[in-house]
């Protein structure tokens, strides 16, 4: 890992560490309960990829908008979704963020700039651009982020949005969370070219180590800064590793075995640096974990105690 020249201040580092731990612990919490079928909704976990959403969202304000996709928990938690309403949504409860209509892949929190995530690959990229256009049209200062996977670059709507954004100079940051897989398809089977070579034709582009939250922090500081200042689009490619199988709660031992996971763990990496810089010690970390775990337990209790929607409410908002 290349140590960044300047470390973010300890507030930022602590924020990022806590968020990453939250995403990790939340996801890990789901692993044992998923097989018990209390959550009837397809889970795409973010374990191992936490650095990307967290190193991005540390630079965003509540009014910055973000669109994302089926692998939704990471960006949603990083952007600040209420843990209880997320958990309740997974339980199919009426207190869920989408009032139980959406499930795991369809999260929403309009007040935090999350206007709904899609489970169809690709389209969300255009939604993010539309939010950027709205910012431009209303002379707002915030920016918008289109957050998507490597597989989504296959889709025509990715290309169309790239071209549109460059032509119209909208404040949009493309963030490609490149975990090297689209379902069971390795990236070299689904994308021929390096997406960065293409994005560079259209806009300022950044290559980021998506397993290292400090590199993400640094890269996104530049990328977000560029979009905010220039009011033009930019592209950030974050290569990372998918620890889990595409869907569900199993580790992908074949493609991402234990030793690989340990080496590339973004949480470990940050902890090590923070400890060496005396920003935190082991008990501080334990404290964060305990706090996070308590929040998760509270969310679980909240979700379990929440009512299911009434079958009579089926047609509400239809």
């Amino acid at each position: 890992m290349n140590t960044p020249h300047r470390l973010p201040d300890s507030t930022a580092c602590l924020w990022m560490l806590k968020k990453m731990i939250l995403i990790r612990r939340f996801s890990e919490y789901l692993i044992p309960i998923y097989p018990t079928d209390v959550l009837e909704t397809p889970l795409h976990l973010h374990i191992g990829q936490e650095a990307v959403p967290v190193g991005l969202c540390v630079h965003l304000t509540d009014s910055d908008t973000i669109s994302f996709s089926h692998r939704s928990h990471g960006p949603a938690l990083a952007k600040g979704i209420n843990l209880q309403s997320l958990m309740a949504e997974l339980y199919g409860k009426i207190t869920g963020c989408s009032r139980s209509r959406g499930g795991s892949m369809h999260l929403v929190e309009p007040e935090l700039g999350m206007h709904g995530s899609s489970a169809i690959v690709g389209g969300g990229i255009a939604l993010g651009a539309g939010m950027a256009l709205a910012a431009k049209l209303s002379n707002a200062d915030h920016i918008s982020v289109s957050y998507f996977g490597d597989g989504a670059t296959n889709s025509g709507i990715f290309w169309e949005t790239l071209n549109f954004s460059a032509l119209k100079e909208i404040p949009l940051l493309f963030v490609c969370e490149h975990n090297h897989w689209a379902n069971n398809m390795p990236a070299h089977h689904h994308m021929y070219g390096d997406p960065l070579l293409v994005s560079k034709v259209f806009m300022e582009s950044f290559q980021i180590d998506g397993t290292d939250v400090l590199d993400v922090y640094k890269g996104m500081a530049q990328a977000v800064g560029y979009v905010k200042e220039m009011k033009k689009p930019a592209f950030a490619l974050c290569k990372t590793l998918r620890w889990m199988t595409h869907l569900g709660v199993s580790y992908d031992e074949t493609h991402c075995p234990e030793n690989m996971r340990q080496k590339s763990c973004p949480i470990q990496k940050l902890q090590t640096i923070m400890m060496s810089e005396n920003m935190i010690d082991a008990s501080g970390i334990q404290h964060i974990i305990a706090e996070v775990d308590q929040d998760i337990l509270d969310a679980d209790t909240f979700a379990k105690n929440s009512p299911f929607p009434s079958p009579d409410s089926l047609m509400e908002d239809a």
Partner: protein, 333 residues
């Protein structure tokens, strides 16, 4: 200003401020843009000198008219994203056929967003698209695909037949918090009629009784209304003529009460027959007004094939006032 509230009319207004259908659309767009800074126009050739067959010419707020590349899918998605973020986009398309490129966004996104997020978001988006016809437009440039959109829950679909409806429905659509697809017919663009100068809306989902009769109920939308009126008027056919205005939601009440009176139903839809809006209306009447029916109901639609290029085949393809008159007279006698 960032919202307007318009009086909801229902009747066909009287007066003689005669303007064309395309001017009515232009006027509604212009007024909406001036009264609500969230309203903007986006789409391929939105900024073309031809101004979408004249319907977008000389707008006061040209800076909120955004021409786009040939990227219908992304453009619909971008319009939707802007709507989610608080704007009021009008996303335009010179041909309904081009919307097929955007079906993923329309069906999987625009239609579903409100429901899929439990009402926590909504998509105040207007999509306008034009049905082509004639001059060898051929199979890819003359489709009327409103039945496809109407099939999808969450989409409202309206089809104005008259200038005043073009204005009133467009303003209602812009004001509505949920997506509305407006299907206009190229052949109607130069049709003229009285249109009030002030802003007004027509309720979405409400039809209008254009002619009162006793012997037959004829239900139509868009250009088919014009042909139906001409058939009925020039043949003294004693029929109720219902202009649907909206095809989703569908005003079943007005249809049912007419059928209750006449006992006979003819639906005219200038579109493919199979699983179309005419099928839906007939099915519903047969379900819920069965005892009112005195004879088999009937439909007039396109034949079940694509539109051919050659003029002589086009003529054989399209129903007309004549076709309607013939069928109506048959059903009455």
């Amino acid at each position: 200003m960032d919202a307007f509230s318009i009086p909801m009319e229902h009747d066909m207004p009287e007066g003689n401020r005669i303007i064309s259908y395309k001017t009515a659309i232009q006027e509604a767009t212009d007024q909406a843009m001036m009264h609500d800074s969230r309203v903007f126009v986006i789409g391929l050739d939105a900024d073309d000198p031809s101004g979408m067959f004249g319907s977008l010419k000389n707008l006061s707020c040209q800076e909120r008219v955004i021409g786009t590349p040939i990227s219908e899918n992304a453009v619909c998605g971008i319009a939707m994203g802007a709507a989610l973020a608080g704007q009021r986009p009008i996303c335009i398309h010179l041909r309904v056929d081009f919307l097929m490129s955007a079906m993923d966004i329309i069906v999987n996104y625009i239609a579903k967003w409100r429901y899929m997020f439990g009402g926590r978001v909504h998509v105040p988006l207007v999509i306008r698209a034009v049905i082509g016809r004639g001059w060898g437009c051929a199979a890819q440039h003359a489709q009327a695909l409103h039945g496809l959109f109407a099939h999808i829950p969450g989409l409202q679909v309206v089809m104005p037949a008259f200038p005043y409806a073009a204005k009133g429905l467009l303003l209602s659509a812009i004001q509505d918090d949920n997506p509305v697809i407006i299907i206009e017919h190229r052949r109607l663009y130069d049709q003229k009629g009285h249109v009030p100068s002030e802003m007004f809306g027509l309720p979405l989902g409400k039809g209008y009784l254009m002619r009162k009769g006793r012997s037959l109920s004829i239900v139509a939308a868009s250009l088919a209304v014009i042909d139906t009126l001409s058939a009925v008027d020039s043949n003294d056919i004693d029929a109720d003529v219902i202009d649907l205005r909206s095809i989703a939601p569908l005003d079943m009440e007005i249809i049912r009460s007419s059928v209750k009176k006449t006992g006979k139903l003819l639906v005219v839809d200038y579109a493919y027959p199979f699983c179309g809006i005419a099928s839906e209306i007939c099915a519903r009447v047969a379900e819920t007004s069965f005892s009112d029916l005195r004879q088999p109901l009937a439909r007039i639609t396109f034949p079940n094939c694509s539109v051919p290029a050659s003029g002589i085949l086009e003529k054989a393809y399209y129903p007309s006032a004549k076709t309607i008159a013939k069928k109506a007279l048959e059903m009455i006698k």
